[in-house]
Point group: C2
Chain length 277, copies 2
């Protein structure tokens, strides 16, 4: 491929930013959105060339579906029907998708992608051509995945500055449960506890710990439910750990409380070490 | 008082910063530390005048004990014995302290203070004359507290730029449990879950949610244990909420999951509203 058309479907923060970055890098980008006025606005901003119907994308060599998780499979099939493009997505869970699209995976037509970035700001208005620069994008090949198709999609992500990580879809879904979904719900639990009386006392620790709890509850309900096969057991493990802490505190078992906190510090260090790699 | 000597006992981050700020504001500061070489270093930095023994502080009109919680009561009594100063502290829990020092509270010699600031950086090397600027300092008067002594201590905090909040000691301890101690332990629980496989996937949400989990486990074990009367019931309430979420996820009850996340978003908004007051 290298210089063929790239179709971006869904022009919110993720799709809009990708279109902006690819266009800036000199690629030819086709813009499609369910509501054509959004594609029109993206074209006005110089993010590519709008198309009104997917059939106009027949020349596309790659396609990226940047819509909510529940709409991805049918849109991937629509694109596969009218183009010869290798198609990818930006959804945050992968096992369900790969199982629904296993035929297109085996045919070298679908690759699962998950960029580890985003923002509380959503929509085309916040599109940023630098959104993917230096960020991790995970691809989730299976044993059936066509290697040429995988290379093509990974090359596209490299164009916008992403760092590629390959993971088995099941390993991916388990890893994002602990790297993202569990932290989000614990942040939310910490925020929910804040009473009006306590609010004036909350300082920097509260501010950072609960930042992501400000996120859209509808969007996050979808994410937690899409990955509940991994989130529920992780949450159960965390509940058991928190019960152990409650018991250690109730018993004034200082050594146990300190060991418990040391396990958290060790996890934070695993994160910091990974950042510097 | 207004212009009398102020004794600072314990010259770590909190005490060193307070000494620096008061000296900069033109106050006369006496510096004492268990290890005299630390007081000497503070004097070298221009934070005040070192004294080798507390008896040299006889002229002090105010005193601030900035040592670990467990050492505060005996140091307060030592200072009360050799000076006429009104004494305060910077400990993060207050009920135990006020009950241990109730006679000095009633005599107008002790006021409980808790500055809502700090850092992972500890020690005199990180002292910062701006540490208290714009930060909340809570005072915890009881029904026996002498109002003139309270005014004197609050005036001192105002000199270094703090915003004063008065709270009953029990209300304070409950509030810091939800504003600080519970968020800390949930941050720690989120960090502990991160496996080596998941570490490269952790991004901005994980970074912020788990920042405080990097803190000193020994220091935080002391804080959680000192306030376990409030932390244990708050933790129990949070466990019940997390169990409800686990059940809602297991049942794929989308409405319940979204309501749960909305409660977190509402808590975050209470925090943001309080910040703008």
């Amino acid at each position: 491929m290298a210089s063929g058309d790239i179709l971006i479907c869904g022009l919110g923060l993720m799709g809009g930013s990708l279109a902006a970055a690819l266009t800036r890098a000199g690629r030819s980008v086709l813009l499609w959105h369910r509501r054509p006025e959004v594609a029109q606005e993206a074209e006005r901003r110089g993010f590519g060339k709008m198309i009104a119907t997917l059939s106009e994308a027949r020349t596309a060599e790659s396609a990226v579906v940047c819509t909510p998780v529940s709409t991805i499979p049918s849109l991937v099939r629509d694109i596969a029907a009218v183009t010869r493009a290798v198609i990818t997505d930006v959804g945050s869970t992968k096992c369900g998708l790969l199982s629904e699209l296993h035929d297109l995976d085996a045919a070298g037509r679908f690759i699962g992608s998950h960029p580890m970035c985003g923002s509380h700001a959503t929509g085309l208005d916040h599109a940023d051509a630098d959104l993917y620069r230096g960020r991790v994008v995970i691809t989730t090949p299976t044993e059936n995945t066509d290697r040429k198709a995988l290379d093509q999609i990974e090359d596209m992500w490299r164009v916008v500055g992403a760092r590629l990580v390959r993971l088995d879809p099941a390993v991916h879904d388990r890893a994002v449960a602990v790297a993202s979904h569990l932290p989000h719900l614990l942040s939310s639990a910490a925020a929910a506890g804040l009473s009006d009386a306590a609010a004036p006392l909350a300082a920097g620790g509260f501010r950072d710990t609960t930042r992501v709890a400000a996120g859209d509850p509808a969007l996050w309900a979808d994410i937690l439910l899409a990955n509940r096969g991994e989130v529920v057991p992780e949450l159960a493990r965390t509940l058991a750990r928190l019960e152990a802490l409650r018991d250690a505190l109730a018993d004034a078992d200082r050594a146990a409380v300190q060991r418990w906190l040391e396990a958290g510090q060790a996890g934070r260090r695993r994160f910091e070490a990974a950042q510097h790699r």
